[in-house]
């Protein structure tokens, strides 16, 4: 995973008078958070390896407004939405893929009414479609036979009823997929949603991410697979709080595919 990949921007495409097939919406975590940037890079490697015609907005992208909306700041949300929709519509974007379920949910469900209509896919859905089109080959490789549990992101699962795309990809990696007692529709939140990522939790007897990590650890996994940069952070912290960081790795499904394919 040495050489940096040239990531095309929409502005560059525009300058050449071209339009990419799909826009990769990176999101704030994917752009700035050190852990999440690894997911971004892994995903970009898969895209370029599969020959996907994509571009990013780069400096023209801004927060979708999800944390603001869910914290109750509808003004800020709609301002962010309006700015983003103006940019997206300016580039005549039709299809968007993102590795963040919060961006995915917001753009897919809440932007249309504000004038932003796009086909929006979560990166696991997109990777699955690449697989089906034969553009992507996924083989077990280093993950074959590993015991892995998948943590459902609320905004991919319950919020949008997508439970199978990430699991299908994991099955392709020939892992031993084990489910937590709370999974899919009954999945327990990692504790980051609704703006919680950016504040201290209210007083209680445990942190939500620790409880979720305990549930994951009950399955005795080699790894915890995630599909959301915030869940990833929360679960990584949870594993650390249990002093298991040397034993249980938390990885995004895209990272696993990139590694399995030795990208």
């Amino acid at each position: 995973m040495a050489e940096a990949i040239k990531v095309p921007t929409m502005a560059e495409y525009m300058a050449e008078g071209k339009k990419p097939e799909v826009l990769f919406w990176v999101g704030c975590a994917g752009s700035f958070d050190d852990r999440a940037k690894k997911i971004t890079k892994a995903f970009v490697k898969i895209l370029s390896n599969a020959g996907v015609d994509y571009a990013v907005l780069g400096t023209e992208e801004g927060c979708t407004g999800d944390p603001a909306k869910r914290a109750g700041n509808e003004f800020l949300f709609q301002m962010q939405a309006a700015q983003n929709i103006e940019v997206l519509n300016g580039y005549e974007i039709e299809k968007i893929v993102t590795a963040c379920p919060h961006c995915f949910n917001t753009i897919k469900n809440e932007y249309p009414e504000l004038g932003g209509n796009y086909k929006v896919m979560h990166h696991t859905q997109f990777l699955k479609s690449l697989l089906e089109e034969g553009k992507l080959k996924v083989e077990g490789g280093k993950f074959k036979g590993k015991r892995i549990t998948f943590h459902d992101p609320c905004y991919l699962g319950r919020a949008n009823n997508e439970y199978e795309a990430p699991r299908d990809l994991l099955r392709k990696l020939e892992v031993e997929l084990v489910e937590m007692k709370n999974c899919k529709k009954k999945g327990l939140c990692c504790g980051a949603g609704g703006g919680q990522m950016f504040k201290e939790p209210e007083p209680g007897n445990k942190d939500v991410n620790v409880l979720r990590t305990e549930q994951a650890m009950e399955t005795k996994p080699d790894m915890i697979a995630a599909g959301c940069p915030f869940c990833n952070t929360m679960m990584t912290d949870g594993v650390k709080s249990k002093n298991k960081e040397g034993e249980i790795e938390v990885m995004d499904v895209a990272e696993m595919i990139a590694q399995a394919d030795e990208l």
Partner: protein, 447 residues
């Protein structure tokens, strides 16, 4: 004498149903205190949802034991109530088992009512044991003290008593028919079949016909009066769900759970801000000035929409939402069930206020926010939708939490400080963290 009974019966019926109608009127009035929201779209999908979730109990069985027992009680109650129709006709006209002309069909009906009554009794006893002996955690949460706790048990006692009277009535009736008592005996022989109550006959064996008649009449009266009482108990109880589960599932949100509504009032303001041609110095048009500026979010029940208020009356306080809530499971104060109970309690209080002040709400210095629901509860929510998913009858506590957060943030600027910082960052540099917008693509250069 018989005529007196008939007259008393009609009076009881009129009072029972009259009082119930009054309660329904009050219920509808209170629900209509909520804001308008259009939930009349896609009637087909809505009917299907109601059929599946309310009629079909599809979400009840997600917890198989409670779900199975609930179906027994639910089916039992609905079907046994067919018998009430006969009781009412018999009561008004002084007849005896008016539907007995149905012959074998009648025997099958009465027989199956008896079996169901027995199963309902059994189910309710198990419910009582789960609640009071096994002490299932969700029934013993903080908000389940006082009235909510008593209410839950009252309902179970009621149902037990109703079923006992129903079976006792049949037992006495069976015995009277066997003894050939006047008015009871029929030329067709024994009408109805009594697979369960026959076992109660030994209890009343040897009683004279006149005593038996007293037993039968007492059980008959208490059964029907019990039903009328129960009907009127509903309004004061969590048991309203037996009626409201149907409209509640019909009017439930059909959109993806993750989709939160975009506030209309904000939309207009943002459009104005984004419009390069808007004149910021333009005089506001006269009609707009007369209007009260819209309040953002909810601090009291009147700020919620009517579906949210309907939700609060429909809540059965089963606590499945709370037991699935990540905040509650980790010891935070938030309990989605309490959000619903508080909303209903406050709405009731507002309703009583309106009643005592001749149809006009008089400011009482209280509101849903702080007096019922604290900020600490509201800020503990992760918006994960587990409560919404868990509810067996389509209640959405999350929408109320969000509406109240909107009030806190947009009317009171009362968000926790760290959230204010994150929101300030979003406003200034397009990300919740203080990174420069211009650095957004730096990751592409990094190895």
């Amino acid at each position: 004498m018989a005529l007196l009974g008939q007259i008393l019966f009609v009076i009881a019926l009129v009072f029972g149903f009259g009082f119930f109608a009054r309660n329904v009127k009050k219920l509808v009035r209170n629900i209509r205190l909520g804001k308008e929201i259009d939930r009349n779209d896609k009637p087909k999908e809505r009917f299907a949802n109601m059929a599946r979730v309310a009629l079909g109990q599809s979400k009840m069985v997600k917890r198989p034991i409670a779900g199975f027992l609930h179906i027994v009680v639910y089916v039992g109650f609905v079907i046994i109530n067919i018998e009430v129709l006969e009781i009412i006709i018999d009561g008004i006209f002084g007849t005896h088992r008016i539907f007995s002309f149905l012959g074998t069909t009648y025997d099958v009906l009465i027989g199956s009512f008896e079996v169901l009554a027995f199963l309902v009794f059994l189910g309710v006893v198990i419910f009582w044991i789960r609640r009071n002996v096994v002490r299932i955690k969700r029934f013993w949460a903080n908000e389940m003290t006082g009235w909510p706790k008593n209410d839950a048990n009252n309902i179970l006692y009621f149902e037990m008593i109703l079923m006992v009277f129903f079976l006792l009535m049949n037992a006495a009736d069976f015995q009277l028919q066997t003894l050939g008592a006047d008015h009871y005996a029929s030329e067709a022989g024994i009408v109805g079949s009594f697979p369960i109550s026959q076992f109660l006959v030994p209890l009343i064996d040897g009683l004279s016909i006149s005593t038996l008649i007293i037993v039968e009449r007492t059980a008959w009266w208490l059964h029907i009066l019990g039903i009328l009482f129960f009907l009127n108990y509903l309004y004061y109880s969590k048991h309203l769900h037996i009626l409201l589960a149907f409209p509640n599932t019909y009017y439930a949100k059909l959109k993806p759970q993750g989709e939160f509504d975009n506030l209309e009032a904000v939309k207009k303001e943002v459009e104005l801000m984004m419009d390069p041609n808007a004149d910021p110095f333009a005089a506001p048009d006269a009609s707009a000035e007369a209007e009260e500026p819209e309040k953002f979010g909810a601090s009291d029940v009147q700020d919620l929409n009517w579906v949210q208020l309907l939700n609060s009356y429909t809540c059965t306080e089963c606590g499945r939402c709370t037991s699935e809530c990540p905040a509650n499971q980790t010891g935070k104060k938030l309990s989605p069930r309490k959000i619903m109970m508080d909303t209903r309690d406050r709405l009731e209080e507002v309703g009583v206020n309106i009643d005592t002040n001749k149809g006009e709400f008089k400011e009482d210095g209280k509101q849903l926010l702080n007096d019922y629901i604290t900020k600490e509860e509201l800020w503990a929510c992760t918006t994960c939708n587990a409560c919404v998913e868990a509810c067996p009858i389509g209640i959405d506590p999350l929408s109320i939490i969000l509406e109240m957060r909107r009030y806190l943030v947009m009317e009171e600027s009362a968000a926790p400080n760290e959230l204010n910082i994150a929101m300030g960052n979003i406003e200034n540099n397009g990300a919740p963290w203080p990174y420069n917008q211009m650095d957004r693509l730096n990751w592409a250069e990094e190895k």
